[in-house]
Amino acid sequence: MGKNLTAKAAFIVGILLVFVFGFLGIPHGGLKQSILRHINLGLDLKGGVHLVLQVHVAEAVTSTTDHDVARLEADLQKAGITGATVGKTDPANPETIVVSGIPPTKLADARGVLEGNDYANYDVATNSAGNSTLTMKPSAIADLNLRTLNTSIDTIRERIDKLGVTEPQIQKYGLGENEILVELPGVKDPAEVEDVIQSTAKLSIHAVVGGPYGTDAEALQANNGAIPPDSMLMHGSGSAGMPDQVWLLKRNSEVEGTDFRDAQPSTDQNGRPNIHFTLTTEAGDRFYKYTSTHSKSSATPGSMAILLDNKVREVASIDGAIRDNGEITGGFTKQQASDLSLMLRTGALPASISYLETRVVGPSLGAASIRQGVIAAVAGMLAVMIFMLIYYKGAGINADLALILNLVILLGFMGFAGATLTLPGIAGVILTIGMGVDSNVLIFERIREELRNGKSTPVAVQQGFAHAWTTIFDTHVTTIVSAAILFLFGSGPVQGFAVTLVFGLLANLFTAVYVSRVIFDAILERKERGATLSI
């Protein structure tokens, strides 16, 4: 072999080894295990739970503006502006806060507060009557939505980790900013996972303003027909075994989910399951201040309500000052207490979620799909290879080698890139095999044509490759273009198809054209001038 050819052959062998390494690594523990360590199988092949969930990000906007209403009231008061009402008038526009009734003499002061740095997230508009509207800026809303989504992902990840699922995948999904994909290989029952993820466990402690009342109507009557703007009506049993009642609570909480440092299931002195919690230092200080000014022995005794997912679980009078340790009893079962403490530990979801898709593939079904898919692919490939040998004789070997090498490189690519092989991915492999063979057929038919036209063997080979190359280039680029677009705009399975297809076609450009050519050249070099080619 000439020097040039030796270098090319060495190059090909090098490439081959690199890509074999890509999907085998340093083999140990059997061929199958080695491959499975390097090639990710999709859940449709491996079995497991696939969930797509939607985060109701708008809720985060509502709760942020709720807090800002209270903050703004306090700030206005601090600035000496009394008599203004701050509130949200339109439930359909949770991003808008309306300030009205500012005394004309205080308008300038009010503007100072509203346009100050503390409310930089809002666009402020003031009309001639002195009423101001604060609307959260679109950029701030987008930020908040993204933050809500990211926090949700973190929270869900922690919860799943604590369930002990191995290799879970939790990531953003789709084109919007409110969908999350959760993939849990090996999990069979989605119900538990869904429950643990979905429980918002939004826990908060609020001061009780009034109640309990029997119904909303009663509560309204007792408060002269209107609920004070800083308060809200909440339902719940208030303690284990009691019927549903209504309380009037302060809207803003004293302590909320994010203030918890730890929570553990425990039992009270009567042996009933409860939750023992620890607050962060900062929240502990705050809570101490609140409980000491409102304890039984103080001048303003009060009681507090523990809200869980917007239901009153427990109402207790404040016996004494509490700093950072406390217990929640609320008629829990043992499982509930333990689930709830898990959720409190990992933090509440910043917004509620709902499920868009749930797919579960049993491991046996996935295994059957792989087995049958592989059998079919191998049978198909063998049939193709045998045909090529019979039809093109010696040149058939080129094609068969190119085909095998193509598959090796494709698998290696997938291993290196960490791409996932899915059922539609197998479709991509089939199309790759089809186009790989096609490239060789194109070349061989072209060579035969040139030979028929009386060209000498080396010229025929050279011309055959040159002519077929244009076609191969066009067909491959067209398909790669379309696969790239599919990858960009498609969802999971369509992407799986696109990935294998692109890798396969790139490999094919190398194997069907370059490798095949090198083999031809090596054969021609050894032959006498004018010898015929087995094709």
Partner: protein, 320 residues
């Protein structure tokens, strides 16, 4: 060994037969989509709940039905699973319509079915192999996304072909691929097979494949145009198709063989998928000869009639 020795078939002379053939199949599919089975979308796109149950023994369909009725499961359908050879498996697919999978009460349907099964069978008598619950919004989204992705990728191909050949080549190739997709989806409607996400992958495969086939023929036309400018376009196209005929038959035949293996040995999970490929390869090969190439000629004749200069002989020369 050689399949064809200098074939000399007048493909364009048969264009009315081809047109008839294409029309019959397209119209049959369209009629079925409009009036008969419609487009049989699977749970992926339609939304709803689908539960695949594997029984240890051949289940009695009536018994399963009764169990569901008793548990108050409404509007369900039970479908027996069988592989392509028609051999029945111990499996059924229980489907519930979209209304049971609202975004809020997502898996009420699944719970009801599982409850009904465990109340009427021993837990060891069945395993739940697969559950798919797709909420209505997700289904619609997937549907839109699949269609959008396909259309964009067709547009991408069109632009590439425009750039490499001429616009009419791109239009003809995309029209041929569209023809294939229409007939394949029509075949799904006629046989009432469900279109799932994997079937979409198969349709994408066939689009890629058919496009590949068409480009091979077009490339040869372009090459011949550069060599002989005097030959009537019809003859030249015929000659080009004949020159690439061996390749077309071998390549398609081999791919068809692979796909047939998948259809026969791939098991029933891949059934819809491989069915689409079997139909698609046949129709895709046919269309590159019978739809795409005649369109080029028809276009040129139409331009000639309007007294415009032919655009095809000016096709860009192959350059890579």
């Amino acid at each position: 060994m050689e399949l064809f020795h200098n074939p000399n078939i007048d493909w364009l002379g048969k264009k009315w037969y081809f047109l008839g053939f294409s029309l019959v199949f397209s119209i049959a599919g369209i009629l079925s989509m409009a009036f008969w089975h419609h487009v049989p979308l699977g749970v992926d796109f339609k939304g709803g709940t689908q539960i695949r149950v594997d029984f240890t023994q051949m289940p009695n369909e009536e018994h399963v039905r009764h169990a569901m009725d008793q548990a108050g499961v409404r509007d369900f359908t039970i479908q027996r699973v069988s592989d392509p050879s028609g051999h029945a498996a111990n499996k059924v697919i229980i489907s519930l319509p979209e209304s049971t999978a609202t975004d809020t009460a997502h898996d009420a349907g699944r719970e009801a079915v599982e409850h009904a099964l465990s109340a009427n069978y021993h837990d060891s008598a069945f395993t739940i192999e697969q559950v798919q619950i797709v909420g209505p919004t997700a289904g619609k989204q997937l549907q839109e996304q699949a269609i959008e992705a396909t259309l964009y990728s067709l547009l991408g191909m069109l632009i590439y072909l425009w750039f490499r050949f001429e616009l009419i080549y791109g239009v003809a190739a995309v029209a041929a691929v569209f023809h294939d997709t229409l007939i394949t989806i029509g075949a799904f409607s006629l046989t009432n097979k469900e279109i799932t996400l994997t079937v979409i992958a198969a349709i994408l495969t066939l689009i890629g494949y058919s496009m590949n086939d068409t480009i091979v023929v077009f490339d040869r036309i372009r090459e011949n145009l550069a060599l002989s400018r005097r030959e009537p376009l019809g003859d030249l196209v015929n000659r080009s198709i004949n020159q690439t005929l061996s390749r077309t038959v071998i390549s398609s035949g081999l791919t068809f063989m692979t796909v047939l293996c998948l259809y026969l040995f791939g098991g029933e999970v891949l059934n819809g998928f491989s069915f689409a490929l079997v139909v698609g390869i046949l129709i895709g090969t046919y269309s590159s000869i019978a739809v795409a190439a005649p369109m080029l000629v028809a276009y040129q004749e139409w331009r000639a009639k309007r007294g415009k200069t032919a655009v095809l002989p000016a096709a860009k020369r192959a350059r890579t």
